[in-house]
Symmetry: C2
Amino acid sequence: MSAGEGVAAGAVDAEVGAAVDAAVARAVASGTGSTSRADRAAWLEALAAALEEHRGELIAIAHRETHLSETRLDGEVTRTAAQLRFFAGVAREGSYLEATLDSPDPSTTPPRPDLRRMLRPIGAVAVFTASNFPFAFSVLGNDTASALAAGCAVVVKAHPGHPELSRRTAELAVAALAGAGAPDGVITLVEGVEAGVALVQHPSIAAVGFTGSARGGRALFDLACARPAPIPFYGELGSINPVVITEAAAKDRAAELAAGLVGSFTRDGGQYCTKPGLVFVPAGTGFEDALAALVADAPAQRLLTQGMSGAFARGADAFARRDDVDVIGTVRELSDGVDVTAPSAPVAILVDAQHFVASSEDFLAECFGPLTVVVRYVDEAELNAAIGELEGSLTATIQHAPDEDVAALTTALSGVAGRVVFNGWPTGVAIAWAQHHGGSWPATTASVHTSVGATAIRRFLTPVAYQDAPASALPLELRDGNPLGIPRRVDGALRA
Amino acid sequence: MSAGEGVAAGAVDAEVGAAVDAAVARAVASGTGSTSRADRAAWLEALAAALEEHRGELIAIAHRETHLSETRLDGEVTRTAAQLRFFAGVAREGSYLEATLDSPDPSTTPPRPDLRRMLRPIGAVAVFTASNFPFAFSVLGNDTASALAAGCAVVVKAHPGHPELSRRTAELAVAALAGAGAPDGVITLVEGVEAGVALVQHPSIAAVGFTGSARGGRALFDLACARPAPIPFYGELGSINPVVITEAAAKDRAAELAAGLVGSFTRDGGQYCTKPGLVFVPAGTGFEDALAALVADAPAQRLLTQGMSGAFARGADAFARRDDVDVIGTVRELSDGVDVTAPSAPVAILVDAQHFVASSEDFLAECFGPLTVVVRYVDEAELNAAIGELEGSLTATIQHAPDEDVAALTTALSGVAGRVVFNGWPTGVAIAWAQHHGGSWPATTASVHTSVGATAIRRFLTPVAYQDAPASALPLELRDGNPLGIPRRVDGALRA
């Protein structure tokens, strides 16, 4: 959902309502929940192959609609196919089911019967796609891949920033799924703000995955909670991604760090939820001079949507007008009107730590696009006071010297961020079992599970325990002898 | 929270607000999140021992305040101590941390760094205790035990149905924790509806566990979602617990089933969230005659609170006045005024399946206390139509013949209930790794994790991933060589 899109509850246009009803009915009727893990893994692989097969065609549409470079989009197709295959592997491996068996024991209080527990698909899922990843967080992105792996049919709300790409991807997906023997209705696309509102409120939707703006995400979260039967809403709403450069690191390699920062915060127009938007730098290390030279040379980029271009110009202007900051780069004059089809140039805002602490709420506002705020600190006390102002974030980064003790800093930052990066930059989220992409509010609406990493699948599952069940009534994964050979816990002991 | 208690947002009395602030501040200052699993396991065992040591004194207070029998309360103390020790074992075993390590791989898109992920405590937790389990879901119940195991300090909102017991239990807990070397502030007690409201809205509370009424739970859930920074609210709100008796089972053993049902729905005054409140029985099998004889002989029980006695009388009266039901047992006349200190006698309401379907919303209303609704069906079509009306429930039960195929029935019921019981009764929830106590709305507010079974601990944890971290900045559980010997996933492979 782009920053400019409004969301409100209330009457939905009858035609839109009917389209959403039909999409959800198809999802429910698909019977996705009773398919096998092996079949769903094959569907995911067929989807990955379809993306790769149509790579050129899809990149061309995406480039036209999003202004992202073809190189970047090519990498994103590769990554999206890898995500789909990753979740196929997660489904096949089967430990995500948390299969657990306990033998009867009449001596306990209360007596223990034969109990066998595993997770089942939660039902039809709504997925709201992001503007800034037209493949990796869109129609066939992480939310869809993890929901399908879990056994949930998906109704995708297309992002208005790349409508043609969304439709073409969905078309290819439906064909690939049919070719892989999947039932009809596993993925359906709907479009428009009203359709999204109707989707979150639909009684047959069991959970929502969302990647987008804080404003749009909060509005939909509120609708999900206010339903007569509330449902889980997994929203990833953006993030400021603080970076701490220690004194020792700045002394060692100020110029290298400035180059790394500029590369990360201007990458693809700074349009990443993991963009480093706030950097704590020791004062007087030459970092600022290096930064100024690099920002001047960094390319401008046309942003994803015209709404984002306007919002970026307003956000940069609000920072630049403050009397407690210095500005590196060119901020466009709003008074002349902003050409929202022109490229946006990178901007760095510099502020002393004491001023940051005095107005932290202003400085913590996310400015989506190529802008970062550099906070100068003079000593550890100032740094710690500034860190104390941080809110939940997807990442936090520590740039440190090789043998420096950063344990206390790590503890402080791991309390606000879902991923702590050491001597690297937060952009570039690898696909891995150990990956996590989350953080407490306002980074996400639900810090317990998020959309990246193997446990993204857990969002779309709910437990069921079988007590003294006859074998024929049990899923194969819970039967004696472990016929499908998955990892299980038996009488308390994990068996890999 | 008892049925009569109201909850509203808004101004909280200054003294109450200050008491809640102080309790939360102590919880946060305790540093519970940075203690070791081994230490917390020892605290839990000390709490179990303290309960057992003071068993007689506590049971006497509980009996006076709740009217539950001393035998039942004695069993509940045993179970509560077992729960505390169970979560000590879960903490020690350590697989709940989901420790996951991935080696670097520069060949992937994007390149994979060294990634290590585990769960960390979410922060200070609020626990709302239940009236009907003054030990097992109260000050030292499942919510508290699982939160402490996770590493979260707890502020307990005492239930007004057993205030003295709550205070005495908290006093003993504080002493036991101090004796076990725990920091101050690990458990604090607050009292009163207003304190509960302030607690859910407190900015330093990170999650809520709740067991109680649908009305109170929904009101607090709404407050948790409406916070500027929303937090997860894990509410268990009650349940109707449908039972299906197949034709073959009724033919085989109608009298035995009637006895089992009466034993289960009248047990301890029917004051269980797992009480079978709805039973589908084939018509004309002699089951009803057996039931009538048994209900007449079943003892009346004084209910937990006067509010519950009144609500039970009104609920039973509303059923009995319908012209589409038959009534077994004595329903008190409301016109004479109800003596809310008198015992409540068991009642069974009988209705034909077609009438049940026509007014299912009325029949699905939970009547807390010794009442069950028996739905007579004439064939499988009627049974399936009736099952189609069910809402989310904590349990569903199938009473079947030994070789009967109940796979389809199991699939249907596992879609609405978190636990499916075969040839047993839903009351009596064993403590086990494979246990689950949840279900979709209205059984719980969050069907993803609930308060019973090992994964209850998962509610109070949030992930953090470390990217390219120096060993000294990592928790011991994630370091090379697995120094604490916990189950981990390494490069995708689970190692038990």
